[in-house]
Amino acid sequence: MDALISQLQRQFRDYTISLYQQGFLDDQFTELKKLQDDGSPDFVAEVLTLFFEDCVKLISNMARALDKTTGTVDFSQVGASVHQLKGSSSSVGAKRVKALCVSFKEYCEAKNYEGCVRCLQQVDIEYKALKTKLQDMFNLEKQIIQAGGRVPQVDIN
């Protein structure tokens, strides 16, 4: 059993480190993990769930605003949604999403329609990718706990 636990722990550690190295997550995510304690054991999961719900809502808002068939494109509305998404992603440490939001915002301010549409597609892809990866990470955690082990603290530095 111990071998399994240590193997799972090693897998978890490597996976988490890879997520950081590939730029999916940044230090803010580490901070988020610090906030999880016995008082709020599912804090990270709750925050991330909320974040992904937010993503879905905001992305559909932006898609609607960028939809040329309903009239002229309201870049200010798109900008507002991007701003929100940028805030959310920086709060949870979603590094790639945040970076995309930054360039998305620039396109909005420049009123560059093609750029905005492209960014929107990229944001969609990114958050879904992140969601999948995080889900895998959580699954690993669950396996470790089920096996009776403790989820290791991963020190990124």
Partner: protein, 738 residues
């Protein structure tokens, strides 16, 4: 017969003669009657006339005379006795009055005559006064001209203007024909004609300064009349004028700056004078009056003063310009130096990093390689590689350290450490080499040496290592001894007085070796970088020569002193250094910070029950911030809009965190409204902190202007939030969270 009372005239009536008498009498009477009338008329016209009663008398006399003559008209023919009577009465009265008048006139007429003489006298006096007043007026006029001239001269600080104005004004005031100024030349042997009023003069017209007339003028401060034929006055073209106007010359002292001593005013004992020559118009018979001479003297004095002022001003302006230029040059030089230093630092930093990275790679990989299985040759090669790369790495560090040390940008990293352990570690490091060279090393630690001290451990080790290393390097045989003790008083340099103060002490380390020794002449050179004593024995020992220089810098940074004593070549040497270390009170203190930066104000690290309000429109951020604060133990209320925030905020909340990420100032309005809400209970107002995504100055300024107590950069880390809350609650203001 009737007796006729008529009086018969004495003589027979001669017709013609009688007629003439008759007519004459008639006219005389008329004249006599009209004279008083005239008199009365004219007297009435004039305002003042003394002797009125004399006039009355005279009038009466005249009237009576007239009456007499009138009555006489009746006596030419036969007339009655009454007429005769009247005639007689009239005559008698007339006689009386005329006698009285005659007597009166004897008194009156002298008086009247004297009045006349007095009048004449007064007229003369008036004429004289008029003349004098004319004279005074002219004098006053010239006085005014002098004042104006002085004013003009003193109002300008330009030499040429001063002198020109002087000449022009003098010429005008005194109606001069010519006015000239002779200035001494640079050599002081001649006077050069510098300015004239009217006539053009040839350039470089000079006269020698030793002429008797010039000496005469220079000898007195008064204006002196000189001959119109003297060389200084011969300025006008000779045109056969009948009589040349009078010429006056006066000296103008030229005060030089060096004449002014600080303590005593100059006595006008200057040697340099200029000569001012003034010429009256020819053929005018005008003479120099005293007051004109005085005027000229006064003007000369004023000109002297004005000139000296101008000179002083010129000097000071020149000096100021010079200073400004120097200033600019210095500024430029300083900026260039700063740029150079910065460029060099950047270069060093970059190069160091660039060089260190591959170096570290080499060292790391070589070490790893050492762990693997190698043949002995390979092992030897790898060891050499490792040693060389370690040396190189040390060298690079040394260079960087030294350059940082030199421009003072290096700071000691203070911490608490165990001194005894440090020495033992150093010895352990050196022992292998020493054992190989068969040099026993002994360590003596004084019994009163403190165990736990505060200082820069790494650098102190570097110093000791360097010195002991040198001792081992340069000794072929013998022994090395290292002694450490606490020193209390100055033993060595007079300019370095060692005083143990309070919680500090001076550590003295003596490293004695019995090696090659050093020539006393070379000792000063030891501590200069890159210099090494060139004895053959030491040639092969390698090293860059930087070690001692760096050690010396570090020792100086630690407010200490380092020196080497040697008895000569072949007699070994002793390296001694003192450094200042702090005594640590608590041996168990952690390595973080030995010297507490802040006095012992209890820092809040327990925020249990602290009520805070979080306002953020973004749900995810809100949740994260809430989680952060909950983790720290606070009681968190969350709201998602400004209105909700206003509704919920109360005096129970100690801090309000508000998200101001959105552009525009609407978010900041909430701060103002909260201020309004709590104007009555200022002290109960919660602290307002903004959470924002950008950190520029305008955001900070905006926050301050809206009355926020602090700004934080999102996303906030746990430690950051903890520190921020402590600071906030202590100081009630925080603007360092960025």
């Amino acid at each position: 017969m009737e007796v006729c009372n008529c009086i018969e005239p004495q003589w027979p009536a001669d017709e013609l003669l009688m007629k003439y008498q008759y007519i004459s009498d008639f006219f005389i009477a008329i004249a006599y009657f009209s004279i008083p009338l005239e008199l009365i008329y004219f007297v009435k016209k004039s305002a003042v006339f003394p002797y009125r009663w004399v006039l009355v008398q005279f009038g009466a006399f005249i009237v009576l005379c007239g009456a007499t003559h009138l009555i006489n008209l009746w006596t030419f023919t036969t007339h009655s006795r009454t007429v005769a009577l009247v005639m007689t009465t009239a005559k008698v009265l007339t006689a009386v009055v005329s006698c009285a008048t005659a007597l009166m006139l004897v008194h009156i007429i002298p008086d009247l005559l004297s009045v006349k003489t007095r009048e004449l006298f007064l007229k003369n006096k008036a004429a004289e006064l008029d003349r004098e007043m004319g004279l005074i007026r002219t004098q006053e006029e010239t006085g005014r001209h002098v004042r104006m001239l002085t004013h003009e001269i003193r109002s300008t600080l330009d030499r040429h203007t001063i002198l020109k104005t002087t000449l022009v004004e003098l010429g005008r005031t005194l109606a001069l024909e010519e006015c000239a100024l002779w200035m001494p030349t640079r050599t002081g042997l001649e006077l050069q004609l510098s300015y004239t009023l009217r006539h053009q003069h040839p350039v470089e017209y000079t006269v020698p300064i030793q002429l008797p007339v010039i000496n005469q003028v220079f000898g007195t401060s008064r204006a002196v009349k000189i001959s119109p034929n003297s060389p200084v006055a011969r300025l006008r073209p000779v045109s056969g004028k009948y009589m040349l106007g009078e010429v006056v010359a006066v000296r103008v002292p030229l005060l030089h700056l060096s004449n002014f001593q600080i303590n005593d005013w100059p006595e006008l004992s200057t040697k340099r004078y200029a000569l001012m020559v003034l010429m009256l118009p020819s053929d005018s018979a005008r003479q120099w009056h005293v007051h004109e001479l005085e005027l000229v003297e006064v003007v000369a004095d004023q000109v002297a003063v004005a000139l000296s002022h101008a000179a002083i001003l010129e000097e000071s302006m020149r000096a100021r310009d010079l200073l400004m230029e120097q200033n600019v040059a210095l500024d430029l030089a300083r900026r260039e130096a700063e740029t150079a230093i910065r460029a060099r630092n950047d270069f060093l930093a970059v190069m160091n990093h660039e060089m260190c990275t591959p170096m570290h790679a080499i060292i790391a990989l070589s070490s790893l390689l050492q762990e693997t299985e190698l043949t002995p040759e390979q092992r030897l090669m790898v060891e050499t590689i490792l040693k060389s790369s370690n040396l190189l790495a040390t060298l690079m560090n040394d260079v960087l350290d030294l350059s940082r040390l030199e421009d003072g940008s290096l700071q000691l990293e203070l911490g608490t450490f165990n001194l005894h352990t440090l020495f033992r570690e150093v010895l352990n490091l050196i022992k292998p080499i020493a054992v190989v060279k068969k040099l026993p090393i002994t360590l003596n630690l004084a019994p009163d040496l403190p165990e736990f001290v505060v200082g820069d451990e790494k650098r102190l080790m570097q110093i000791i290592l360097n010195i002991v290393g040198n001792a081992v390097k340069f000794s072929k045989q013998g022994s090395i001894s290292v002694t450490a003790l606490v020193t209390k008083s100055d033993t060595r340099a007079a300019d370095f007085f060692v005083v143990p103060t309070g919680s500090h002490f001076y550590l003295r380390v003596k490293v004695k070796d019995s090696g090659a020794g050093i020539n006393p002449q070379d000792i000063p050179k030891l501590f200069t970088k890159f210099a090494q004593t060139q004895s053959l024995a030491t040639r092969s020992s390698g090293g860059s020569g930087l070690g001692l220089a760096i050690s010396k810098r570090f020792v100086n940074l630690m407010e200490g002193n380092i020196w080497i004593e040697s008895d000569g070549l072949g007699k070994g040497c002793t390296a001694i250094f003192d450094v200042k270390l702090g005594i640590s009170e608590r041996p168990n203190e952690s390595k973080q910070s030995g010297i507490p930066k802040v006095p012992a104000i209890p820092r809040h690290s327990n925020f249990t029950g602290l009520k805070v309000l979080v306002m953020d429109e973004n749900g995810v951020s809100r949740m994260v911030t809430e989680g952060l604060l909950v983790h720290l133990g606070c009681e968190v209320t969350t709201v998602s809009s400004n209105e909700e925030c206003l509704g919920v905020v109360s005096h129970e909340h100690k801090v309000v965190f508000m998200d101001v990420c959105l552009p525009g100032v609407e978010n900041y309005q909430i701060a103002l409204r909260i201020h309004e809400k709590f104007t009555k209970q200022r002290h109960q107002r919660p602290l307002l902190v903004a959470l924002t995504g950008n950190t520029d100055k305008s955001t900070k300024e905006k926050c301050m202007s809206f009355g926020l107590d602090g700004v934080l950069l999102k996303p906030v880390s746990l430690d950051n939030m903890r520190d921020v809350l402590s600071d906030l609650l202590e100081c009630r203001v925080l603007y360092e969270g960025m």
